[in-house]
């Protein structure tokens, strides 16, 4: 039975190349605290960028600030949706709305207070960003933020939107 963990790891690695992630079923909260069905608010049909973040995470805020600065230009080139999902728990979830409004971010922000969507998408640390194609399947992902990552994100977004 001690070999069992190894079997699991091996089989998982084997499955790796077949793995696919998409939007999970379930609910998130809007900034005003209302429950919203994920598949209703993030409708496929165009490429979607999903960025998991938190108000206490400096690299997350840095990445979203960089995207906010370029958002208008990007929208002029590609028809896509950008959704920032906050994983702030009840310590700071209540302040996300004032934080976001104070920053004047132009994209949609939703709350995943008990981190259900984060877990369903197998995210274990923030910032974590996905690009889903118009069929709703994840085609690109990155974790962490290095200054300049937003350029790679846009390049990948263009590639996916042209598919």
């Amino acid at each position: 039975m001690r070999k069992f963990p190894l079997i699991i790891v091996f089989l998982t690695l084997y499955q790796f190349c077949f793995a696919q992630t998409s939007l999970p079923p379930g609910y998130l909260k809007s900034l005003s605290g209302k429950e919203v069905k994920i598949l209703d608010v993030i409708s496929p049909g165009k490429p979607i960028v999903i960025s998991f973040w938190a108000t206490w995470c400096n690299p997350c805020v840095e990445e979203l600030e960089a995207v906010a600065q370029l958002y208008e230009t990007w929208q002029g080139e590609i028809d896509f949706e950008f959704v920032a999902i906050s994983i702030d728990d009840s310590r700071s979830a209540a302040k996300v709305k004032s934080f976001v409004q104070g920053k004047g971010w132009p994209f949609k922000v939703l709350l995943d207070q008990n981190q259900d969507a984060m877990k369903a998408m197998n995210v274990s640390l923030v910032p974590f960003t996905f690009i889903l194609n118009s069929a709703g399947v994840v085609k690109y992902r990155h974790s962490g933020y290095i200054n300049g990552d937003e350029q790679t994100l846009f390049k990948e977004l263009k590639k996916i939107s042209n598919e």
């Binding site: 069992f4 605290g33 728990d89 104070g102 197998n122 990155h142 962490g144 790679t152």
Partner: protein, 526 residues
């Protein structure tokens, strides 16, 4: 049990194998954190007999239509520094089957859940601190009408690699009024009740084995204004940690936001009295809680602003917090070409006021004892396409004597942090942090710095140091490391010293010991 787990796992993997023939989706993640320790007497650290420690978590999910199934396998070989030793070993600690169709959502097996603000129930995972109190049982979420949600849970909380002996059960409901009246303002009401049964075999008579916590809450959201409130009562829960007191617990939380064009104001007020809600009454630790009581203060992100973090006093506490976020418009005098963001935050925590009746305190009150106070200001400015800065000032007061041990002082500190980023080219960037903490109490002044080089999108290198320079035998808490990431993998390797102190993640703080050595982290998402 092992056989059952094996069958579950194999079934899941076979399902994954078959997914290419149908529309099922298979996904997962693997996280690993390993340490290799070295003895370092200057920080009073002696390496353990086995210098290697490793935490590993593998998660697999399979979804097909209305069905989602998954498992989480964890191996602590043994657990890394700061994690509870009871985690040592390996096990499939989480497996579930979830069916969601129309108004019904049923989970059998392990699940996470939160009622309201978590004051009566929060089953959650915090991998940074090794907390996982997921419930093992079943959960039903029923949405019979568009404005009504009812959740029922029944299960045993996870404790380290096993389940606790006690069951937790609860029901919670939310009603949204705006759907009914179709107005622009929305009103929500909610209520929940959670109970646990903990058998008592001691000599005391009239001992409550069943402990119940009940919550009612309401929220109003109207354009730029949101106000939320939650009130909780908890039945008597005597244990050795409250001197077998039969005092009932209670809590009141009020918070809200006022927002307008690039302006956001947040305020919060919380009163707590005897709100420690433990699953097993004999174990007063953060791994054994049913509810969630994070500190009502700002969670800082820099090294020196985290020297004195606050940890909630569940026995009695009054806290308030206010925060203003404002962005000066692009093109204005203060905003410059790219806009300037300002964040001002204030929080204060006190005890509750005695009612005059010796041991009794009044819930809606603020006592004379100041546990903690934090006033901080942060200014973020983008100067050009290549240069950005974040300046932070914080004044933190921390009653270390009351919060940690009576031998310590009341600490008054001032902290300044300058965080500057420079983008040398499309790929190459540099970032530097300079930090200083002034205080006449406790360990005296600290100085810290960090330098980071990034090669987007793959690589970053960093070196940091922090030193307390009051004492002649000062220790440098240095760290160096590099990180690599691509579409699936994030890998980082570091070497250095970890300071003993409180480590806080997601609102909960844990005292972690010092160590020196190598650390390797791997995260794979697939």
């Amino acid at each position: 049990m092992s056989r059952k787990i094996f069958i579950t796992a194999v079934a899941l993997l076979l399902a994954a194998q078959a997914h290419t023939q149908n529309k099922g989706l298979f996904s997962g993640s693997f996280s690993s954190a390993s340490h290799y320790y070295q003895t370092d007497r200057s920080i009073l650290f002696i390496r353990p007999n086995d210098p290697f420690a490793s935490n590993n978590i593998l998660r697999l999910n399979y979804s097909q239509g209305s069905i989602v199934a998954g498992l989480q396998y964890e191996a602590y070989l043994p657990p890394i520094s700061g994690f509870p030793y009871q985690l040592e070993g390996d096990k499939i600690v989480y497996r579930f089957f979830r069916y969601t169709k129309n108004s019904i959502d049923i989970t059998v097996g392990n699940f996470y859940e939160q009622f309201g603000n978590g004051l009566i129930l929060r089953a959650y995972e915090n991998r940074d601190l090794g907390i996982n109190n997921s419930l093992d049982g079943f959960r039903v979420i029923y949405r019979p009408l568009s404005f009504l949600r009812i959740t029922g849970v029944y299960g045993k909380p996870r404790r380290f690699l096993e389940n606790s002996a006690n069951y937790v059960r609860g029901v919670d409901a939310d009603i949204v009024v705006d759907t009914v009246f179709n107005s622009s303002a929305s009103l929500r009401f909610g209520a929940g009740v959670v109970s646990k049964f903990d058998k008592y075999t001691g000599p005391l008579t009239d001992f409550p084995e069943m402990v119940t916590a009940t919550s009612v809450r309401a929220s109003l959201s109207s354009g730029s204004l949101d106000v939320n409130g939650e009130y909780v009562v908890k039945s008597a829960d005597p244990s050795e940690f409250n001197d077998y007191s039969h005092t009932k617990g209670s809590s009141l939380l009020l918070n809200g936001n006022f927002t307008k064009n690039r302006f956001g104001l947040f305020f919060s007020l919380r009163f707590l009295k005897q709100m420690n809600f433990l699953n097993e009454r004999e174990s007063n630790d953060i791994y054994n809680t049913i509810n969630y009581l994070p500190s009502n203060t700002r969670q800082h992100s820099y090294m020196l602003t985290n020297i004195y973090p606050y940890s909630t006093q569940t026995g009695e506490e009054f806290s308030l917090q206010g925060e203003v976020n404002y962005t000066f418009e692009k093109g204005s005098a203060a905003g410059g070409k790219y806009g300037t963001s300002v964040r001002v935050n204030f929080s204060q925590v006190r005890d509750l006021k005695a009612t005059g009746n010796s041991n009794e305190v009044s819930l809606i009150s603020a006592g004379d004892k100041l546990y903690f106070q934090d006033l901080n200001i942060e200014i973020s400015k983008k100067w050009s396409n290549t240069l950005k800065s974040v300046l932070t000032y914080a004044n933190i007061q921390y009653d270390k004597g009351s919060l940690e041990a009576p031998v310590y002082d009341f600490v008054r500190s001032n902290i300044v942090v300058a965080d500057i980023s420079y983008k040398a080219s499309r790929k190459l960037s540099l970032r530097g942090e300079a930090q200083h903490l002034w205080t006449k109490e406790d360990e005296g002044n600290w100085i810290a710095g960090l330098v980071e080089i990034g090669f987007a999108p793959y690589l970053n290198l960093y070196a940091s140091n922090m030193v307390n320079y009051r004492y002649s035998n000062k220790a440098n808490y240095y760290n160096v490391g590099l990180g690599y990431k691509n579409n699936y993998v994030r890998l980082s390797l570091g070497y250095g010293r970890q300071r003993e102190g409180l480590m806080c993640a997601g609102g909960i703080c844990l005292k972690v010991p010092s160590y020196k050595g190598f650390n390797l982290k791997l995260d794979v998402n697939f």
